[in-house]
């Protein structure tokens, strides 16, 4: 049986321009100076099969978040290509587009529509989100009156209940108090283990990666070090990190 591919990344380069942000004066004086470039990703290629859970590891500054954001379409690659094969995608980020002066209820819609869902789709899942967030009457109060725990509970609920084919997760596995932490971890596990869903997780916690992922991609200094089954790559990575 042919395996279905969900994400194809080919020769991905992403570059930050150090001096891109400039003032008018600077653009006169520094016009001819060489622009300092920072290469965050230097030609990474890989494929992810549908339904796989891929963990992305690497030390700080290895380009993990940059890669997630490129795949999510927030950055454009400077070179190379990303093909999502028509899947819907979302970067699981907490509280996107929240307006703190408005009620939590209104923010469900704001945030949800921003993630690319239609009003009707949100309406259908509205109750699930409210139930999952579990913040009681506060859902009808302005978000600025929330405790930080409540805030992340609601934000997590929105992103977790409104699901997409591909989910990108950047270190947001646990929020809220102990009870909610467990609940959100379980929900995350449930979301992730759906056979039709492809998930990419960035995390520094090897424990999390080991528990959740079946494949691991190791980035170092913007380059692909290794990709393969979790139990193969993780020991190598650990050894490498210990020797640093």
């Amino acid at each position: 049986m042919e395996k279905e591919i969900a994400i194809t990344v080919k020769d991905l380069h992403v570059t930050y321009r150090g001096l891109k942000k400039t003032s008018i004066r600077a653009s006169w004086t520094k016009l001819n100076k060489r622009i300092e470039l920072y290469h965050a990703l230097k030609g990474v290629s890989f494929e992810v099969e549908k339904g796989k859970i891929l963990g992305i590891i690497g030390k700080n500054g290895a380009g993990k978040s940059t890669m997630l954001r490129s795949i999510a379409g927030i950055f454009s690659p400077d070179k190379g290509s990303i093909n999502l094969h028509g899947n819907t995608i979302s970067l699981l980020s907490i509280g996107v587009g929240f307006n703190k002066k408005l009620t939590g209820y209104e923010n469900i819609y704001l945030s949800g529509m921003l993630l690319g869902f239609s009003e009707d789709e949100i309406k259908a899942k509205e109750q699930d989100i409210i139930n999952f967030a579990d913040i009681g009457e506060f859902i009808y109060k302005p978000v600025k009156t929330y405790s930080s725990g409540m805030y992340s509970k609601l934000a997590f609920a929105i992103t977790a209940i409104l699901e997409t084919d591909i989910m990108l997760i950047d270190e947001v596995l646990s929020v809220g108090d102990a009870k909610f932490k467990e609940k959100s971890y379980n929900k995350m596990k449930e979301l992730i283990s759906d056979e039709n869903r492809t998930v990419l997780i960035v995390s520094h916690s090897l424990e999390t990666i080991r528990n959740l992922c079946n494949e691991v991609l190791w980035l170092n200094e913007g380059e692909l070090m290794a990709i393969g089954p979790a139990d193969e790559i993780l020991p190598k990575y650990q050894e490498y990190m210990d020797n640093l």
Partner: protein, 267 residues
């Protein structure tokens, strides 16, 4: 271009919702609530007509309406331009976390400004009712004038929004530019009366340049002409500025499509 219209269609509802949200949150904490949307243009009008009407002895009730119409158009342009320069940076949270066509931010903002403009026009109508200035059929031409003003402002806004990302001091420049435009556009005086009888180079060029060369002054003048002077608008120049507006929009759309995915790297 097709991409632009598809995007607008796709995100239109979001833009409306986010505009409503912003309007709501703007007044959520204030004591007088939505009344501020009425009080603000009214008090500006009172200030200007006090200074220029009463102290400098110009016009009566009609002058108040004249000023208010001018302010209505001016404030729309002013808000669009000021609002667009820092738009991407102000929405840093959003821009770095989700993909959304960047002109949707401007679209949503522009809805809030259109709303305020509509309130301002309503106050004009009320004033006309109260003061007995006659209504006329020509006033309907305000609609095409506003549409052209919107296209122009949207085009300018997109271009400024793009350069506002990388040019730090663009905001300072636009503040100065707007100040100048404010006095040149004739918000509280009539360009024709003021410059019209002053001949330079043997001809009365200045008022023409000021009137027809500055879209803000032009839209203002046209709005006043159709409302207060029972005149047809100047269709030729409306057409020209409409075309310029469309051209600016196309440039802006092109700039944004080409660069929007890099904004997140810079801010």
């Amino acid at each position: 271009m097709k991409k632009f219209f598809n995007n607008i269609k796709k995100y239109f509802k979001y833009a409306i919702r986010s505009a409503k949200a912003e309007l709501k949150s703007e007044v959520a904490d204030s004591y007088l609530n939505w009344l501020w949307w009425v009080i603000e243009p009214l008090s500006f009008m009172l200030i200007y007509s006090l200074i220029f009407g009463t102290i400098m002895k110009r016009g009566g009730d009609e002058f108040k309406i004249f000023v208010l119409l001018g302010l209505t158009i001016w404030e729309f342009f002013n808000r669009m331009i000021t609002g667009s320069v820092k738009l991407i940076i102000d929405n840093r949270d959003l821009v770095t976390k989700v993909y959304l066509p960047k002109y949707i931010l401007l679209l949503s903002k522009s809805f809030t400004y259109l709303f305020k403009m509509a309130i301002s026009f309503c106050i004009c109508l009320l004033m006309m009712l109260v003061t007995g200035v006659e209504f006329n059929i020509y006033m309907l031409f305000i609609i095409p004038i506003v549409i052209i003003a919107y296209i122009l402002a949207f085009g300018i806004g997109m271009i400024l929004m793009h350069f506002g990302v990388t040019l730090n001091d663009l905001a300072n420049l636009t503040t100065i530019g707007l100040k100048m435009l404010f006095y040149l556009s004739g918000v509280f005086y009539n360009i024709k009366d003021t410059f019209g009888n002053r001949a330079i180079f043997g001809k009365k060029i200045i008022d023409d340049i000021l009137l027809y060369g500055n879209p803000i002054a032009f839209c203002m003048q046209q709005t006043r002409d159709v409302t207060l002077s029972n005149m047809f608008p100047n269709f030729m120049f409306l057409g020209i500025w409409g075309l310029v507006g469309i051209l600016l929009c196309m440039i802006g759309i092109h700039l944004i499509h080409k660069n929007e995915n890099s904004y997140a790297k810079v801010i």
